[in-house]
Symmetry: C2
Subunit: 435 residues, 2 copies
């Protein structure tokens, strides 16, 4: 019998126990930090030579020139052409749905004119060039390539440079096919901190980008944190979480499998169920123990559920919503009647899956919304990856002759108040009337 | 005669000289880093006691309880009531204009329904509680209080907690008045890394916030970087910059003063002029030397212009635009005819000031747009502070019964392809037809 932590909101220790189980401290490993610091400095100063050296050392690719580390676009297309038909169809259908959804996010420039002719607004532009980090090995998901690349393309980013390590030269066909579907511009078979450094600083071969997105291991995460400011980065994700609020009327096998679908990612993933019905929670436990042996990844699932899973008996659904807002989960399933009405009470969540039919898995792959979501309570202040992460705004200000007088009056008063005389004088020059 | 670096785009060394002059490396001071690390840990574990101890040590405020470090809201209102009438009028007029402009930025939720009844969208919510850092001493600008607080209020943030150090108990009346105008909820007279830590982790007295915004010294910047992830932060700003493109037909005194208005902020501030007319550049130099002695802050201005100022002779305005896009300046003045047309060619800038009447100073105080802007070439990938920084998005997904079949087909194919069987099975449970 798998042992999953059960909590009841009526117990005195509920809040402290919850906080203890939610706590996740991403320790910074000093050895990793030092290594990454060295790699960044080396690539920044030595460029391609350093990238070649690290790629030889870490990925055992012994090539003489950077050109050998670039995959031609035809290679991506042939990976796509050689996919089994059902996989190609699914990949292209998913990409089309993700694209359609993200097109709703495109921001457009706006201006308005005031009575005196002064014009104010914001001009929206796309980033010029974006770097997409794709992990090698087991964590390389084609769906992740789509979710990171398509919003950039929809935003109008002209160049999308993908880096993906290929240790011992082993290439992932599904990942390359996804790059073809997503419209990636160039692909380099490099990875780790050296790939992040090459994208951030540029080398003779690899163009400097404006932003780097995509998941990676601890070295990649550390490198991204360090180059932030030189380039933009997406969030550095923690372990994935799901929180399910269920009224106790969904098939318990479904809920058990939804909890598994989060837990199978990683031993640190967190699956939480909130339900007002104690009997139902027991039924889900029965389903968990029945279904677990059938799962190929049962060891990962069992570890995740035992170490980080929580089954919470709440007093009612309103209390469940309150707890969900406190936790601010990455994924929130509302497995209940009138889920769309309950969703309006949710203040903090990465994605809200409404209704018994809506499992997280469909959102992960193909519903349309992005699967790159804020983890570890950061949904309190951040959003899913989107087109808006690849566009930016410039304020627009055009002051009319009359506006120069009225605005100049305000600006000069405040500027003198702050002791900034050049500010005041430059506004005064534009004033034709002085009070 | 003040010596300002002159460049000509036709010379061979232009690009390398430009890069050298633009380079600004914000060195991380190891001693500061260690101190901040200690302060954060101490406040995290000791809470109010640690905050009291640091406030006594650094600000020489020897109080026994945190309650003595909170300013009542009435204190803010009395600061406003006691302001000279012209300052109060200017402050309230500026706040009203900033509010009106930012109301254009409010994001709203959206959904759309697909043919099979599946509903997709994004739900927009405000952050619950925001911390506003305001520096003590000479860098305390009331305009900065307005620019940071008003977008949060417009976004619908319920609680705005301001922290402002008051070394030796000296309070800045203009700053407190601005807090009253902006609608700040609570004010604590604490500062430094200890204030950032208190806001990020919460103490018995100071509530934990979701995001911390506002400028600060190197300790504050380091503390903000370190608490990022626990809370959101705004950008960590570098020195301020202005880039002016002038066609050579604006009064050279105006342009000289506009360059001064950036330079007077700080010795590290950077002022750049691009002009196709070499004679005009000389006229601006004459104006600079004529006007400089009149400026109270002439020493700061002279140092900034000598060390970091650049006067660039370009071949034409198109080339000027190209260079501006490379530099991605924080402030860009287009002092020329048809500035609104030229602005459409600008891809990267924090704010664009269009036309001879539009000096940066008016934008700094009261035009309406935010004066918190991306510095040091980060306008390539980031935006002015805005209402959007205090709202966030949750994806909305409601899959219909029919959608569960069609989307389930795609999701299961991709999930099996990625080896994630629980994902596939949870989607299959919802399918009533299988292919």
């Amino acid at each position: 019998m798998l042992n999953i932590k059960k909590l009841d909101t009526l117990t005195a220790e509920f809040q402290s126990e919850l906080d203890r189980l939610l706590a996740f401290e991403s320790e910074q490993d000093t050895a990793i930090e030092r290594t990454v610091e060295d790699i960044l400095r080396h690539v920044r100063h030595e460029g391609d030579a350093a990238v070649l050296e690290y790629t030889k050392r870490f990925d055992r690719l012994d090539v003489a020139t950077m050109a050998e580390l670039e995959l031609p676009v035809e290679r991506l297309q042939s990976a796509l052409d050689n996919l089994p038909a059902d996989q190609r169809t699914a990949l292209e259908a998913a990409a089309q749905r993700v694209r359609s959804y993200h097109e709703h996010q495109v921001m457009t420039s706006w201006t308005y004119e005031e009575a005196d002719g002064t014009v104010l607004g914001q001009q929206i532009t796309a980033l010029d060039r974006v770097g997409l980090y794709v992990p090698g090995g087991k964590a390389a998901y084609p769906s992740s390539v789509l979710m990171n690349a398509i919003p950039a393309k929809v935003a109008g980013v002209a160049e999308l440079i993908m880096v993906v390590p290929t240790p011992d030269g082993i290439q992932n066909e599904l990942v390359l096919a996804a790059a073809a579907v997503a419209g990636v511009t160039r692909v380099f078979t490099i990875g780790g901190a050296q790939a992040v450094a090459a994208l951030a600083y540029g080398t003779a071969t690899i163009p400097q980008v404006d932003k780097i997105v995509g998941p990676g291991n601890a070295y990649v995460a550390s490198a991204k944190r360090r180059v932030f400011g030189t380039v933009g980065i997406d969030m550095v994700a923690g372990p994935s979480e799901i929180l399910i609020i269920c009224d106790g009327k969904t098939n318990p096998d479904w809920i058990a499998m939804d909890l598994f679908s989060q837990a199978e990612h990683d031993e640190l993933a967190q699956s939480i169920l909130l339900c007002p019905d104690a009997d139902y929670i027991e039924q889900v436990m029965v389903s968990i123990n029945k279904l677990l042996p059938e799962m190929p990844r049962h060891e990962v699932i069992a570890t995740s559920l035992r170490d980080r899973g929580i089954l919470i008996k709440v007093q009612d659904l309103d209390e469940a919503v309150k707890i969900a807002n406190y936790i601010a989960p990455e994924h929130l399933e509302l497995s209940m009647d009138d889920a769309d009405v309950w969703a309006k009470k949710i203040k903090h969540a990465g994605a809200i899956f409404m209704g018994r039919n809506t499992c997280e898995a469909i959102g992960d792959y193909c519903a349309g919304p992005n699967h790159v979501l804020p983890t570890s309570r950061t949904a309190r202040f951040s959003s899913p990856l989107g087109v808006y992460d690849f566009q930016k705004r410039s304020s627009l200000i055009q002051v009319s002759a009359q506006g120069a007088n009225t605005l100049g009056q305000i600006a000069t008063t405040l500027a003198y108040g702050e002791g900034l005389q050049a500010h005041a004088r430059s506004a005064e020059y534009r004033m034709t009337t002085k009070s």
